[in-house]
């Protein structure tokens, strides 16, 4: 009996609390930057496509909704020839972002992607690529990688020595 009364009292008190529900869509919710929503492909600080087509995101994806094909430009820089995410399958787990060694693929705070046709939830590279570094500014994979893909020459990286002169026997 007592507990019933207590419950009613607590419910009554809620009348005077601040409201938790908002009037969506007139009113928008504030999302945190690390909120896992729509997936984008970002660009590096120099404006190049960050994705190097390594397939790690695709392998990490538990529902296998990422498909891509890597290709190379004439400098040997790898990038995806196509990059497709089937958002009708995506569960927004963020594993792809975790797997990505280049910060290319990122989940952003946007969930407003509803479509009338399921087919419209298939996003291609044109739909995914944004002109921004997203959450992780400042990183350009090709500046730290060992290979020369037209971004920095061999031995010109911060952590690299000049290429070995193989004709020399000096230590």
């Amino acid at each position: 009996m007592l507990s019933h009364l207590r419950t009613m009292w607590l419910v009554f008190l809620h009348l005077f609390h601040k409201r938790e529900t908002i009037q969506y869509p007139e009113e928008k919710i504030q999302l945190h930057p690390r909120w896992r929503g729509r997936i984008v492909l970002t660009k590096d600080p120099d404006g190049g496509e960050r994705c190097v087509g390594c397939y790690l995101c695709a392998a990490a994806c538990p529902v296998d909704c990422i498909a891509l094909q890597a290709t190379e430009d004439e400098d040997g820089r790898r990038y995806p020839e196509f990059f497709r995410i089937n958002f009708s399958r995506c569960i927004f787990c963020g594993y792809c972002e975790e797997a990505c060694p280049t910060y290319a693929i990122q989940l952003i705070p946007d969930f407003e992607m509803a479509e009338y046709k399921r087919q419209d939830l298939v996003f291609e590279k044109e739909d995914l690529l944004i002109d921004s570094q997203g959450k992780y500014p400042g990183y350009n994979f090709y500046k730290v990688a060992g290979l020369d893909a037209g971004v920095k020459e061999k031995g010109k990286g911060d952590n690299e020595e000049e290429p070995v002169d193989i004709k020399s026997l000096l230590p």
């Binding site: 392998a59 296998d64 890597a70 298939v122 290979l147 061999k154 031995g155």
Partner: protein, 895 residues
């Protein structure tokens, strides 16, 4: 069998092995880099450390490199020991101090031995704060990509390239921590085995350049066990597909056949499958819209065929199933081998010899283990490259075995053995028209005309068995070779159809039979031209010339040509005449060629990658090649499926029931007894393990729900495979499949091809359950009949030259030429003469000469070969788009 203790567990192990092999055979995951099962140990990388104890009491023990320590009775060791584990982790950490941050853009990633070992040892964070060493790369030709920063200095590449395969243009340069693995300067790697570097190198320094064009990770490939299509050896391969295109080929270990290696023609010659030149739709010629649907084609054939005399032309590059199906369609008496008279004659001779049971034909493994080899008249370097590699191993191993008799060293101890052997070589006699790279290791080599080489052979046979006819003067070389063969226990004689001379085959047979004694087991190996030449020859059908003759006399025939370009078999004029006389020409093939142009009805056939099929290799080993992927276009089908569909149109009783390879082989066996046993080539199509099929896709195959979602967002039903126990999905039995059905080598912790260790009974031994393949010829106790018919010595004729083929590993193959890199390395047509002959004609190198043969004149630049026998002219065999010439004919040459 010594007993050893690993972490206090006792094991009975094989003597004469090192601890690393032993541990791996027992299933331990012990990391290693520099050791390779085919190349032995050098102890360079220090990765395979274990702790060995003196005895039971010893608790301290000592760290040793397991690859450098022999198995000893009662030996105690520890793999999981703390100090050994820490040592191994430390070694990887050191190796990684200079390793670039490349995995995401490294083609090795996902099948990288270095990744495997790094994960296995637990190293994960670079503590070293200093800079990384860097190198510049080299251009190494169309097959291999170079990224030298990734090197861990294990020396496997040079050991394979130089020591194992005999190449000399890859080496190690510089010193100390600057060692560099590459060429003296940029340039194409010359060895035809260079592609193996991609698998031998444990890192991404050397990677497959053709894969780079359409890069896909190992885990994303759909793979199936397959058979190489580019020569008669039938090396086992694993082709990988993604998005409907073939992406690469890697080696599939078969202890009896190719072992760990493939040649570059086999590895890179897959691009024809993706060619623009593929036939994708049925074509009915001479109508407004020639490309037709499946149903229209069948309707057309149903009208066209009844009441016609059907003649079938088989093919040495089509599977046993397809050839047999054609034979069933047209009837035994109307089935012809799509091969010219001379070739059929030679191949028949070979089949007769092998079927007689008088002589043993060795596998490649047995050739490797031979202790004396005679190559009689076959340019195996170009016609059977992996056999040449096996012959090289025989020469090296024999020398090592002889040295080890004096100084007892363990055979796996590569450095010590090399030091001991020095320049000594086992016995190889290489008798060919032109010198070949094998001559460098040959104790005895000779160049001559085929008749003279055959006479040398008969001379050897006469020395071995004096009751055989003598060739007159006994050549000194014959004595040397006969002596060496006599002293061998396992001599092997190799010949083939490449010399275009039946005397060579008969002479080789005489030698092999004459060598047979109680304790000497000679082997006689034959090289044939194509992947199923043996299977077709065993069907014993008449030649192309015979069918041409028949068509002349019987008007209104309909010919069905199976995967065969007749312009590569008989001279163009004859082929043209033949086609003119046929009323209807129905051609099944995968790629457009000169024959498909003549077709009235053209039916798209599946290539090996899209088909199941059985191929019989040069030793008579039937091997199953499984379908890798289903062609996206449903009008592309296996030839045998088409042929049964056509047959259903003719026999009202059958209702077009689909035929599967299993049923076809079972029927073949009962109608042609020479194929007895072939139906056991692979487990039947309803074979399941715990109710599950064997998946073609890896367990981490990605993109299933996105690959095709651009076309339709609902995923299609998974493809069904009714022809084999393999499935097209990633679901299924993940344990050890039967050896003929291994779609790819993978084991927990071993993403790289090194996982093969887990599939073998013992490291470097046969696969679990036995190496795949059913040998169709067995030696019996039949009494041999010698051949006594010795050809006359070769005499050059005035103003006439004997026309012979020169084979090219890159160039001669019909299908491999669709690979850009192979086409790049193929020669331009030429005419080769001896120096003396060139002088007689007053021609110098590069001059245009004209050869008149088969009523046509061909003008090509001259190449002069000093060692070529006078009176012979060599021209390249089987170049793309070239006519075939009448090999063995006498031709005129004018300037």
């Amino acid at each position: 069998m010594p007993k050893i203790y690993i972490d206090n567990k006792s094991f009975d192990v094989k003597a004469g092995k090192n601890l690393l092999e032993t541990c791996l055979s027992l299933g331990y995951d012990l990391p290693y880099f520099c050791w390779h099962p085919a190349m032995g140990s050098i102890g360079a990388c220090r990765q395979c450390a274990v702790r060995v104890f003196k005895d039971e009491e010893d608790t301290k023990g000592r760290i040793v490199m397991s690859c450098m320590e022999n198995v000893k009775e009662g030996l105690r060791m520890s793999v999981s020991d703390e100090m050994a584990t820490a040592f191994r982790a430390q070694v990887v950490e050191w190796l990684m101090t200079n390793h670039p941050h490349d995995c995401p853009v490294c083609d090795e990633g996902g099948s990288c031995h270095l990744q495997d070992v790094t994960v296995m040892t637990g190293h994960d964070y670079r503590r070293f704060e200093y800079k990384k060493r860097t190198y510049t790369n080299q251009y190494l030709g169309p097959f291999i990509h170079h990224e030298m920063n990734r090197c861990i200095q294990c020396y496997r590449c040079v050991r394979f390239y130089r020591d194992y395969a005999g190449g000399d243009d890859l080496n190690v340069f510089s010193a100390h921590n600057h060692v560099y693995f590459g060429r003296e300067k940029d340039g194409i790697l010359q060895s035809p085995f260079s592609g193996n570097l991609a698998e031998v190198c444990p890192t991404g320094v050397f990677t497959d350049k053709t894969l780079k064009e359409h890069y896909t990770r190992k885990w994303d490939l759909t793979t199936a066990p397959s058979i190489c299509q580019h020569c008669s050896l039938g090396c086992n391969t694993i082709p990988g597909e993604r998005y409907g295109k073939l992406r690469n080929i890697v080696n599939r270990y078969n202890g009896e056949v190719n072992g760990y290696f493939l040649c570059d023609r086999g590895r890179f010659g897959y691009e024809f499958v993706n060619s623009e030149n593929r036939i994708t739709q049925p074509i009915i010629r001479n109508r407004t819209i020639e490309a037709v649907s499946h149903d229209l084609l069948i309707q057309h054939l149903a009208m066209l065929l009844p009441g016609q005399t059907l003649i079938g032309i088989g093919s040495p590059r089509a599977s046993v199933e397809s050839n047999y199906s054609l034979r069933e369609l047209v009837g035994k008496e109307n089935f012809y081998q799509g091969v010219n008279d001379d070739q059929v004659f030679l191949e028949q001779k070979i089949v007769d010899i092998l079927q007689s049971g008088c002589v043993h034909t060795p596998s490649l493994k047995e050739i490797e283990e031979a202790d004396a080899v005679l190559v009689l008249g076959e340019d195996i370097w170009n016609t059977a490259p992996i056999m040449a590699l096996a012959v090289r191993q025989s020469v090296m191993k024999t020398a090592a075995a002889e040295s080890l008799e004096q100084v007892p060293l363990p055979a796996w101890h590569d450095v010590a053995v090399k030091e001991l052997v020095q320049e000594a070589k086992g016995f190889l006699a290489n008798v060919t028209v032109l010198p070949s790279p094998l001559n460098e290791i040959a104790a005895c080599s000779m160049q001559g005309a085929p008749d003279d080489m055959a006479r040398l052979g008969f001379g050897i046979a006469h020395i071995l068995n004096p009751t055989l006819p003598s060739v007159g003067v006994i050549m000194e070389k014959a004595i040397i070779i006969a002596e060496a063969l006599k002293h061998a226990k396992r001599p092997v004689i190799i010949t083939g159809t490449g010399g275009c001379n039946d005397g060579l085959i008969r002479a080789a047979y005489d030698i092999a039979v004459a060598l047979k004694t109680e304790d000497r087991k000679p082997g006689l190996a034959f090289v044939l031209p194509e992947c199923n030449s043996m299977g077709l020859a065993m069907m014993r059908a008449p030649s192309l010339e015979k069918v041409a003759g028949r068509v002349q006399n019987t008007p209104n025939v309909t010919v069905v040509i199976l995967e065969n370009d007749l312009y590569r078999r008989i001279p163009a004029a004859k082929a043209d005449a033949f086609f003119r006389q046929c009323k209807n020409i129905i051609v099944l093939d995968a790629l457009h060629n000169r024959t498909t142009e003549k077709a009235h009805v053209l039916i798209p056939a599946a290539t090996f990658a899209e088909a199941d099929g059985t191929f019989v290799n040069n030793e008579g080993r039937a091997q199953r090649s499984c379908q890798v992927f289903m062609p996206a276009i449903n009008t592309i089908k296996e030839s045998f499926k088409w042929l049964w569909e056509i047959k259903a149109l003719l026999t009202s009783a059958s209702n077009g029931q689909e035929k599967h390879p299993d049923e076809l082989l079972a029927r073949l066996e009962s109608s042609l007894t020479q194929f007895a046993g072939i139906s056991a080539v692979a487990p039947p199509r309803d074979f399941r393990i715990h109710g599950s099929a064997i998946p073609r896709e890896s367990h981490r195959y990605s993109g299933r729900t996105a690959m095709l979602s651009n076309l339709a967002v609902s995923e299609p039903k998974p493809l069904q495979d009714d022809d084999s126990p393999l499935s097209f999905t990633m679901e299924g039995y993940r344990g050890m499949p039967p050896a003929p059905l291994i779609p790819s080598f993978w084991a927990p912790g071993w993403n790289s091809g090194q996982a093969v260790n887990k599939y073998q009974q013992e490291v470097g031994g046969p696969l679990k359950g036995g190496d795949p393949g059913i040998r169709l010829f067995e030696q019996t106790t039949a009494t041999p009949v010698f051949s006594r018919d010795i050809p006359d010595a070769f005499v050059p004729r005035p103003n006439k030259w004997l026309l012979l083929p020169q084979h090219h590993i890159f160039g001669t193959g019909e299908l491999s030429m669709y690979t850009k890199g192979i086409a790049e390395r193929s020669p331009e047509p030429y005419i080769t003469l001896s120096k003396w002959d060139a002088e007689q004609l007053g021609a110098v190198k590069g001059d245009l000469l004209s050869v008149k043969t088969d009523e046509k004149i061909y003008t090509f630049p001259l190449i002069i070969e000093e060692s070529l026998q006078d009176g012979i002219v060599l021209m390249p065999a089987g170049l793309q788009g070239m006519d075939v010439w009448s090999w063995g004919a006498w031709v005129n040459i004018t300037k």
